[in-house]
């Protein structure tokens, strides 16, 4: 038991690496917020573009979305990290991770928003259009508020799942929680920094999960 505690809960090692883990939490936080904001916004924009029903454009959106949903996020991160600088787009590890995860979240979010838009009854469109409201006005004021309410539970789940993937940034040297914990392990030959890292993820994500639950109940409403 003592050996177990000494290995995974070595307070001396933990104290030494706590500042690193804290700085990792900061990186994970702003990377996560960045991914959520840009991913959800890009997904909504894509779904809105799709609802205009321009066929070639929609075929392109569906193709790109399906590709992004198929390829593992880690592959995208590595691809962007090595590929984009070679193509003349200077992007560091943090940038590659943000871009890759944002795109993946955007792809899933687009599908979820789109399903929401489709599930709003045709009568809603007709009622609004018959009062002289234009297509985009109807979409924004009548259809999207209902579609987004329907989309919130699946969107919350997906957002949490993708945000946790910020840990993948470790591979391209993003100094987030896992990176800090892992380098702590390498330097101290003791896995306690990993325990600390796991705690850090708990501290960051438990409130997110709780917020997700709150949002779900807040936005479920009777028809």
């Amino acid at each position: 038991m003592d050996r177990f505690l000494d290995t995974f809960f070595n307070l001396e090692v933990m104290a030494r690496y706590l500042p690193k883990i804290l700085s990792g939490m900061l990186v994970t936080t702003y990377l996560g917020i960045g991914v959520v904001v840009s991913g959800l916004a890009a997904g909504l924009v894509l779904a809105v573009i799709r609802s205009f029903g321009v066929r070639p454009l929609n075929a392109l959106i569906v193709l790109v979305v399906d590709m992004l949903r198929t390829v593992p996020p880690l592959v995208l991160i590595v691809l962007f990290f090595y590929g984009l600088p070679a193509a003349g787009v200077p992007l560091d590890g943090l940038g590659s991770t943000w871009l890759a995860l944002s795109l993946v979240l955007a792809a899933f979010a687009e599908e979820i928003y789109w399903a929401g838009i489709l599930s709003v009854s045709k009568g809603q469109w007709e009622a609004a259009r018959s009062t002289g409201l234009g297509f985009l006005t109807t979409l924004i004021w009548v259809i999207l508020p209902q579609a987004i309410r329907l989309a919130i539970p699946p969107l919350t789940n997906r957002t949490i799942a993708i945000t946790k993937n910020t840990a993948l940034g470790q591979v391209v040297a993003v100094q987030e929680i896992l990176y800090q914990a892992y380098s702590g392990l390498s330097f101290s030959y003791n896995p306690s920094p990993l325990t600390l890292g796991a705690l850090a993820y708990l501290i960051l994500f438990v409130p997110v999960v709780i917020a997700g639950r709150w949002i779900e109940t807040r936005f479920s409403w009777k028809r």
Binding site: S121, G123, Q124, E126, A127, A128, R129, S130, T131, G132, L133, G134, T137, W141, V142, P145, Q146, R149, W221, K222, R223
Partner: protein
């Protein structure tokens, strides 16, 4: 017929869905302050005809003029014309995320660009007109079917339309709620509103309609004053249909 007084003028209207021709040449005029009922069996094209009149359905050919404006001309601002044509649906189609007042004022604010206070005043007046002045803050799911349909009528009236189209306004309602909606329609009629109504509310048609149009198979089979259509139709098909309706009610 005096064309100047025809506020809705439909000529040689055809509409096909794929290979199925639903409207096969409709000629129809609606004069100002007139209340016209359209009856006919399901599949006769009556709802499609009504929906062509504000281009919720795109006609295949023919012409439609509303208040002198060519509804099908490419240069026509369809949103502007639609503000002159109110529409009331069978299933109400209220916006569930907005209050009754929000439903009524949305187009006033976004389409007519009226400031909120002014839109609210107009909206409250429209709700009062349908007897729902005290329901302004209620959401659709807090209202009965009859109340919802009256809010939907208020939503159409708030834009001060020249015509109101009713697509089976009472057929989704419980029988005891039909009366409240018909009463509102009666008041509108007394106020001189021009109305085109697809409905099988025979009692209402008899007492309030200026003219009843019988449609079947995508054409107007017969039209005339209610006394003629219900009591002495000239066409066999009209007679058969009216007899079936009478037997049902």
């Amino acid at each position: 017929m005096n064309t100047a007084a025809a506020i809705l003028d439909v000529r040689a209207l055809h509409k096909s869905f794929g290979a199925v021709e639903v409207l096969r040449g409709i000629d129809f005029k609606l004069r100002e302050r007139e209340l016209v009922f359209i009856i006919g069996p399901s599949g006769s094209g009556k709802s499609t005809f009504l929906r062509c009149c504000n281009r919720l359905e795109e006609p295949s050919s023919g012409s439609i003029h509303v208040d002198g404006i060519d509804l099908l001309a490419p240069a026509t601002d369809i949103n502007a014309v639609r503000r002159k044509i109110g529409m009331v649906f069978q299933s109400f189609n209220l916006y569930p995320h907005m209050t009754a007042l929000g439903n009524v004022t949305l187009a006033l604010r976004l389409s007519l660009k009226k400031p909120r206070a002014e839109a609210d005043d107009i909206g409250r007046a429209a709700l009062a007109q349908v007897g729902l002045a005290d329901m302004a803050k209620r959401y659709p799911n807090e209202l009965s079917g009859g109340q919802q349909q009256r809010v939907a009528i208020a939503r159409a009236l708030a834009l001060e339309p020249r015509i109101v189209l009713f697509d089976e306004p009472t057929s989704a309602l419980d029988p005891e709620l039909v009366g409240s909606v018909l009463k509102v329609m009666h008041n509108l009629r007394d106020g001189g509103m021009t109305m085109l109504v697809v409905s099988h509310e025979l009692g209402f048609a008899r007492e309030a309609a200026d003219r009843v149009v019988f449609m079947e198979g995508g054409v107007i089979v017969e039209q005339g004053p209610p006394e003629q259509i219900f009591a002495a139709p000239t066409q066999t098909r009209t007679r058969a249909f009216v007899a079936r309706l009478a037997a049902r009610s």
